[in-house]
């Protein structure tokens, strides 16, 4: 159906756009910047902050440009006197309700309200200070998320994020009038409600009302402590986004610079979570094949299919709250982060002659839920806390700046050995579809001895930003021991973002699906869109980060997990075989049902 075109003028400049375009979108085409606060490209239109108001000729009221569609002959002024005065008033009003302590605030320099205030250069605040209980309302109950209600500007982005993108709705607008605020159920601490720790709310909060629980001081302390041997592991998604917080454009791979910076910061060894991603594939791939065998050959009815990936801790907590009946479908594999920690403080510690109690494992993650994950009581299989601290990509950027490192001038460096080698299959863990693709590259070859029948091993059907992706691979010419899979159509699904996950889980529960294996990543876009990644985020930015991930994959000499020589070695020397006794001890975990509300 062709769309009508609409002619209008913005600041006396004529423009033609499709019917249904908002004034805000139309103005972007003309490079007229209209300030916004409650608006976000990933979310539905709210139209409550009123910062984006513009004057429309002939109308008595100012129009919220984010919420007003263009109409034929409209004449818009984005900077008339009335608009300027209104904007100033609105920002001043917000400041009067806001705990203005920018110099101490975690978002200092990264705050959208601060930016607006600086654009208008206010001087003395006109209005009366309305901030109540500024010191009493910070919630640090969650290991992942800090919530400071004294900084909240009630844009409701967090509420819409948690509801529309994640279908969790742990946050809501409560009360009305001068008591209106944003809160959890009965204002309980975040740790006591169904918050999954995914941190998507943090990614969209314009001020310092939501930010990660940060552990930068603890990590610096460990680095300075002469008695500690501090090892750092880095996630795949961090290396394609870290640059954004250090002056670079989205989608630039900074792996080598990141390694160099970490070394300069003083970490004893710089290692790679991608190594354990490859390990995860070995364990999880074998687990899947074992379940398939038990289901098809042994006709074991207790086997749970579809099997579901388990490397996304926000997704795991989501399942524990919302679909506890499906917990047995989850792979028992730990995430690469946690497998790393367990191996680091056992296998690796032995190898390099360091006492495990003196080793501190720090991970750099695009994720806030990983902070929750490393604190789970199950994650102590090494005899110690397997992963001591998790830093977000954003925290790392801050620490690099604190260390005075000029990031873009760094030379590329390589990871240390061992636990530093990885395949292209590992790197693509960072984006939606990556775990599935990595698993298929290995599983298919194990079963048939042949490579997956996709050009360059790129399994396109599971890639991209669509909410639920499906693929079907017919298994042909199996090796003798896998003959029970001959002719089987392996049905897989990939989804990202918890709202999509919820829909998929409801389909699975209804029994109408016939998937064998499902990859779920808790964040839109997968880890490259994680709750710990640089802000701002948008689909465009996530796409560019994903492209960088796939480029990194193509550039790797080894593209399949089972060909990673360090992986081969760890099995030979230590683990013996996937799902072996040692693996079960260190690399596998279990889950717990949590209350639904």
């Amino acid at each position: 159906m062709s769309k009508y075109m609409v002619n209008l003028k913005i600041n006396n400049t004529p423009i033609q756009v499709e019917e249904g375009t908002t004034i805000l979108e139309a103005a972007k085409h003309l490079n007229f910047k209209i300030p916004t606060l409650c608006n976000h490209p990933d979310l539905s239109v709210a139209g409550n902050c009123r910062v984006c108001v513009v004057e429309v000729k002939g109308a008595r009221l100012l129009a919220a440009s984010c919420a007003t569609p263009v109409s034929e002959g409209m004449e818009v002024n984005t900077n008339s006197e009335k608009v300027r005065i209104a904007r100033k008033h609105i920002v001043e009003l917000l400041l009067s309700e806001h705990n203005v302590d920018c110099t101490k605030c975690f978002k200092n320099g990264h705050c959208e309200l601060q930016e607006l205030a600086s654009e208008y250069r206010f001087g003395d605040h006109v209005f009366i200070d309305l901030v109540k209980d500024r010191d009493k309302i910070r919630d640090i109950s969650s290991p992942s998320i800090t919530r400071d209600a004294s900084k909240c500007i009630r844009c409701q982005r967090c509420v819409r994020t948690c509801s529309e993108l994640q279908s969790v709705s742990a946050l809501a607008v409560v009360n009305k009038g001068d008591h209106q605020t944003i809160s959890s159920f009965l204002n309980k601490p975040l740790n006591d409600v169904v918050c999954t720790n995914c941190g998507q709310c943090i990614n969209r909060c314009p001020t310092g009302a939501l930010y990660e629980r940060n552990y930068m001081e603890e990590v610096w302390d460990a680095i300075y402590d002469p008695n500690k041997f501090v090892v750092v592991e880095t996630a795949p998604a961090t290396r394609v986004a870290l640059g954004e917080d250090l002056g670079l454009e989205p989608g630039i791979r900074v792996t080598g610079k990141m390694v160099s910076a970490l070394r300069k910061m003083g970490f004893s060894k710089v290692l790679d979570t991608d190594f354990t991603a490859d390990l995860t594939i070995m364990e999880e791939g074998t687990e899947l094949l074992t379940r398939l065998k038990r289901a098809i050959v042994d006709k074991d009815e207790t086997v749970k299919l579809p099997m579901m990936t388990s490397c996304s801790p926000g997704w795991i907590k989501f399942q524990e709250h919302m679909f506890p009946d499906l917990l047995d479908n989850l792979s028992s594999c730990k995430s690469p982060q946690q497998m790393f920690g367990a191996l680091a403080k056992t296998y690796y510690a032995d190898k390099i002659n360091i006492k495990a109690e003196n080793m501190v494992v720090v991970s750099i993650m695009p994720c806030t839920a990983k902070k929750f994950e490393c604190n789970r009581s199950e994650m102590r299989d090494s005899g110690f806390k397997d992963v001591d601290f998790v830093l977000t990509t954003r925290e790392l950027a801050m620490m690099i700046k604190q260390a005075g490192i000029e990031f873009d001038k760094l030379e590329d460096e390589s990871y240390d050995s061992i636990l530093g080698e990885s395949s292209g299959a590992a790197v693509i863990f960072g984006t939606t579809g990556g775990v599935m693709e990595a698993a298929l590259r290995t599983a298919y070859e194990i079963i048939t001895g042949n490579e997956v029948p996709f050009t360059n091993l790129n399994i396109k059907p599971v890639r991209g930003m669509e909410g639920v992706k499906e693929a079907s691979i017919k298994i042909k010419n199996t090796k003798p021991e896998w003959s029970f899979l001959e002719g089987v159509e392996l049905n897989v699904a990939v989804t990202h973002g918890l709202a999509n996950a919820k829909k998929l889980m409801e389909s699975v529960k209804s029994g109408k699906t016939n998937y064998h294996f499902i990859e779920v990543m808790g964040c839109p876009g997968g880890c490259i869109g994680g709750g710990g990644q640089p802000i701002p985020t948008s689909e465009e930015i996530r796409k560019r980060r994903a492209e960088a991930i796939y480029a990194e994959d193509m550039g790797k000499p080894i593209r399949k997990s089972h060909e990673n020589p360090e992986v081969v070695e760890v099995y030979k020397e230590y683990l013996t075989h996937p799902l072996g006794h040692k693996s079960h001890e260190l690399l596998h975990t279990h889950y717990q049902a949590r209350k639904r509300y």
């Binding site: 009123r50 100012l62 919420a67 007003t68 209104a86 008033h89 009067s96 209005f127 009305k176 009038g177």
Partner: protein
């Protein structure tokens, strides 16, 4: 006061009491009005409605005939008629009385509207503070629904309650509340006749407006047109309270001067009249003569609060600002924070914590609220604030 000039030859009426709303025609009861009206085409009913000049009686004053026409023209599987009985404007109590005494006329108006626009369901959203009326009202609705069924009219009236939120009187907030959500006004466009309740074309009319629609159908538009002025046809029900010996509900012809009103209703010592409730305008004695009660003067939902010389206009303004601060839905910046600033602002000036000139800063703020707030609540706060501060500045400061 309004900035708009009052035209030279504005019609001015004497105060005249009317008996359209509460009168009862035994020969043409409300259900009989429905019966005879649906024999006409929807288009001709709309023409009558437009011709009558009837404008909404809840305070906004939108031409009723046009509203029905817009809704009729929308194509949709479902449409709704909603009676806004959320009457919460301070000083307004006429809708309660109407629903108590002549509810059948309201139902009739709804049924006729349903016929005209193509809606099969009508809802009365009545404020929670009137819960004591629910049982009796439901009984009357049941009887009327049966009568409609007997006439083979495909329209059913339902009853819904609010739970204590003034802002739910705003049409889109009312829809939100009926949909089980917080009563937060929506972005407009789309307007209710395009997407209202359940995002379907909806006509939402005030209780009083619906009575007038059924009365116009009963007696024809001419009788209604004969009353009032060019821009304010007909009569209106007023809720009169405050310093008056005869507080109560009165149906009066539109277009009267405020002086005529005060002459009849004041206690001889009237200092000011708040026209239109907390969100209306405060008119000082010196302006009674030139103020017309009608859409060309001060449009109103009918609330008339009379203050004599013993009253402090500071207290009055403070009361209104406290009301808005509490009742604001809270979603938009200008209203949520602006109301608090106005309230604390006049307190600060009174206590000497801010200079009197701060009132001018606040007036500028209300000018922004008037054009930047998301709904009528925030947009209207400027009215009482500016009219009281301008006309009673000394009482606010000292």
């Amino acid at each position: 006061m309004l900035k708009e000039e009052i035209p030279d030859k504005m019609e001015q009426k004497q105060l005249k009491k009317i008996d359209i709303i509460f009168g009862w025609d035994e020969k043409c009861t409300p259900i009989q009005v429905v019966e005879k009206t649906i024999k006409k085409t929807p288009e001709s009913i709309i023409l009558d409605m437009i011709d009558s000049g009837l404008k909404g009686r809840g305070g906004a004053g939108f031409p009723t005939g046009l509203k029905w026409k817009f809704a009729r023209n929308e194509e949709s599987d479902m449409k709704y008629v909603i009676c806004n009985a959320d009457e919460g404007e301070p000083g307004t109590f006429k809708d309660r009385e109407i629903l108590d005494k002549v509810s059948e006329k309201v139902f009739a108006g709804m049924a006729i509207c349903g016929y005209v626009i193509g809606a099969r369901e009508g809802y009365i959203y009545i404020r929670g503070e009137y819960n004591f009326m629910l049982t009796t009202l439901q009984k009357k609705i049941d009887i009327f629904n049966q009568q409609l069924q007997d006439l083979k009219v495909d329209f059913h009236v339902f009853l819904r309650s609010g739970s204590g939120a003034y802002v739910c009187g705003e049409e889109s907030a009312l829809f939100e509340s009926m949909e089980g959500k917080r009563g937060e006004p929506r972005n407009k466009p789309p307007y209710p006749t395009v997407a209202g309740y359940n995002n379907k074309p909806t006509v939402i009319n005030n209780v009083e407006t619906l009575v007038y629609t059924s009365e116009i159908c009963r007696m024809g538009p001419e009788q209604f047109k004969a009353l009032g002025t060019n821009n304010s046809r007909g009569s209106k029900v007023f809720s009169v309270s405050g310093d008056t010996p005869i507080a109560g509900i009165y149906e009066l012809e539109l277009g009267m001067s405020l002086k005529a009103f005060v002459d009849d209703f004041g206690d001889g010592d009237t200092k000011s009249v708040q026209v239109g409730g907390a969100s209306g305008y405060c008119v000082p004695r010196k302006k009674f003569n030139e103020t017309i009660i009608g859409f060309e003067g001060i449009p109103t939902g009918g609330s008339m609060m009379i203050f004599n010389s013993s009253r402090s206009m500071y207290n009055v303004l403070h009361d209104y600002l406290e009301f808005f601060t509490e009742e604001s839905c809270g979603q938009c910046t200008p209203c949520r924070i602006g109301c608090q600033q106005l309230l604390k602002g006049i307190e600060a000036v009174k206590k000497g914590e801010r200079p009197p000139s701060y009132l001018d800063d606040l007036k500028k703020l209300t000018a922004t609220m008037k054009i930047a707030a998301k709904c009528g609540l925030g947009q209207s706060v400027a009215n009482p604030f500016t009219s009281i501060v301008d006309n009673f500045r000394e009482e606010i400061i000292y």
